[in-house]
């Protein structure tokens, strides 16, 4: 049973990265980015391929961090320069990266034989190490992003999402900050994809299906606790994983877990609408 708790927390921490990405796009930029799952797949495919070429677990993560933003840049280009809406952009980016990811990672690549980042803590059992490492990464990214939003660049990112016209009046290009924020979000999601491959030991072209829903639900749970970017995102992500684990534990058919997720989303959003009407936050 502790295994189950451990697994829940592990995935909760890993998916926190995507929850943060979704917070940056949907909440900060007010742009519902449907192309995040392409970044997840891209990070995973690249990680698998880098393992194959003999890169160490840490070096490969760094490479993924550097190249992940390109997915976001592409999304930004389609949305800002070609003026496509979020649905069209999402579909196009996901389709293009399906082919790219297939090319980089093939349809299915087994990497369980390679050393991953989770076995690198000496003296600690792998599963505990995994939890510690994933928690640390999630926390580190949370702290980093939280700090970034207090800097000059961060204030401009927030301003861009809220009132891009005013940003132009301040002599700054809102496009630049939109791109930057998108690329940051995609960087985190790509990292999550790479960590996912390191943890599960294989890359599959279909592994990015459904992660947007996971991120969104985690985000909604987090926002029912607080509207800011903080530890709530981690709690929300873990809470959702716990709910899913619990439905499995109660021997509820996994098919029903999707129904439960949808129901949960509706309930959470309705509750938030009510409290929003009260306090007029947005």
């Amino acid at each position: 049973m502790w295994d189950l708790v451990e697994t829940t927390l592990m995935f909760g921490c890993l998916y926190t990265l995507i929850v943060i990405s979704t917070w940056i796009t949907s909440i900060l930029l007010r742009y519902d980015d449907l192309s995040l799952e392409a970044a997840f797949g891209f990070g995973g495919a690249l990680q698998a391929r880098l393992f194959l070429y003999g890169f160490s677990p840490i070096t490969s993560l760094i490479i993924v961090l550097i190249t992940g933003p390109c997915v976001g840049a592409f999304t930004g280009f389609l949305h800002l320069f070609l003026g496509l809406n979020n649905v069209l952009t999402g579909i196009i980016v996901v389709s293009i990266f399906f082919s790219i990811n297939m090319f980089i990672g093939t349809v299915n690549m087994s990497v369980i034989q390679y050393k991953n980042i989770f076995s690198m803590l000496p003296g600690v059992a792998t599963s505990t190490a995994t939890l510690l490492i994933l928690f640390s990464i999630a926390l580190a990214i949370l702290i980093f992003t939280s700090w970034l939003l207090t800097t000059q660049i961060g204030l401009l990112m927030r301003a861009t999402g809220s009132n891009p016209l005013l940003v132009t009046h301040l002599g700054k290009s809102p496009r630049r900050y939109f791109f930057f924020s998108l690329m940051l979000a995609h960087m985190f999601t790509a990292l999550a994809g790479a960590l996912f491959v390191q943890h599960t030991g294989y890359y599959s072209i279909s592994s990015n299906i459904g992660i947007l829903v996971i991120a969104l639900t985690g985000l909604m749970i987090a926002r029912s606790l607080s509207k800011r970017l903080g530890i709530e995102l981690l709690i929300g992500s873990c809470a959702y994983q716990a709910i899913i684990a619990f439905t499995l534990h109660l021997q509820i058919d996994p098919n029903w877990s999707r129904f439960i997720t949808a129901f949960l989303l509706i309930a959470l959003i309705s509750l938030q609408r009510k409290s929003d009407a009260h306090s007029q936050q947005y």
Partner: protein, 322 residues
């Protein structure tokens, strides 16, 4: 950092939720009522995999009667669902072993560190997904086809065929592996090959007409997507008067013309015997290797055969008619 945790309320809520979660898990823990319990993780619902599950259960019930119970879960072709179920199985105390049916389930079940023995069946290429070299104790049965038998089938039933269309889901590793083998065997036999791919089941209606154009036969390797869409594809092939050959015998009942594949029910039984040897006879899991069953029947669908207007004289006696 301080800003993050300064709202003690949030951290308190987080800790409280975690405690509740653990308490609930403890309270609702299932008690062990059978001597052995095996978790069955099936990749998707289609005839072949269902037959494996049935063969597996039948064999073990025959051998162990009521002392064995099964917890069955289906991943509905979804990799992340397979992951969730696999993690749940690994974490559940009362399970003595995990039986994974087909590649997606096997991969999901493979990467965890619990010491539960892993049995697999209907995994086309265990070596390719790392099953043979991993540190997880595992053994099982593969369902790799013999492509030469497919070619023989084609030559026997449709002797005038020159062009063949290879139709499969490019996103499934088992399909890719077996398609490559088929491709090479067909080239060696002198056929011209067209390849038509889909990436998910919703694309099948969109490409099937193109796949059936200007070809003498349609052939599919071991492919879960094709298996799930079999009735539709078979019907379309029949309307276009194109012989449709598959790699899975059970799909022939659903309308395909013919197959020279393995018997999935027998595969299930063979996997059951692996489990029996480990649980009951105490054999070590790694002592049992992966093997491919030798059984390959030629199966033909009589109705489809007649509707296509093929010459009955071509049917040899050793072909089973359904």
């Amino acid at each position: 950092m301080i800003r993050l945790i300064n709202q003690n309320k949030t951290v308190f809520i987080g800790v409280a939720l975690l405690t509740i979660f653990i308490l609930l898990l403890v309270i609702t823990r299932p008690t062990k009522s059978h001597r052995f319990t095996i978790g069955i993780l099936q990749t998707a619902s289609h005839p072949a995999l269902d037959a494996v599950a049935k063969g597996f259960k039948d064999y073990l019930h025959e051998k162990l009667g009521n002392t064995i119970a099964f917890v069955e879960r289906n991943a509905q072709g979804n990799a992340s669902q397979a992951q969730m179920i696999a993690h749940y199985f690994h974490g559940e105390q009362c399970l003595d072993g995990i039986f994974a049916i087909a590649t997606t389930a096997a991969q999901a079940a493979m990467q965890h560190n619990s010491n539960k023995p892993l049995f697999v069946a209907a995994v086309t290429d265990p070596e390719a997904i790392g099953l043979k070299s991993s540190t997880i104790p595992a053994c099982g049965i593969s369902d790799m086809i013999d492509p030469d038998k497919q070619v023989t089938l084609l030559k026997t039933l449709v002797p005038d065929a020159k062009t063949v269309t290879l139709f499969y889901n490019i996103g499934e590793i088992n399909a890719q592996t077996t398609a490559k083998k088929l491709h090479d065997a067909l080239i060696d036999a002198g056929y011209k090959i067209k390849t038509v791919n889909v990436t998910q089941i919703s694309e099948v209606p969109l490409v099937i007409d193109r796949a059936l154009k200007m070809t003498d036969a349609l052939i599919s390797p071991i492919d879960n997507t094709v298996a799930c869409a079999i009735t539709f594809i078979a019907q379309k092939a029949l309307e276009a008067k194109v012989p449709f050959i598959v790699s899975d015998n059970l799909l022939v009942e659903r309308g395909a013309l013919a197959a020279a594949g393995v018997n999935y029910y027998e595969i299930g039984r063979a996997a059951g015997s692996c489990v029996f040897e480990v649980l009951h006879e105490g054999k070590k899991v790694t002592a049992i290797d992966f093997h491919t069953p030798d059984i390959a029947d030629y199966v033909v669908n009589k109705k489809t055969f007649d509707s296509l207007g093929l010459d009955p004289a071509l049917l040899p006696d050793n072909f089973i008619l359904v």
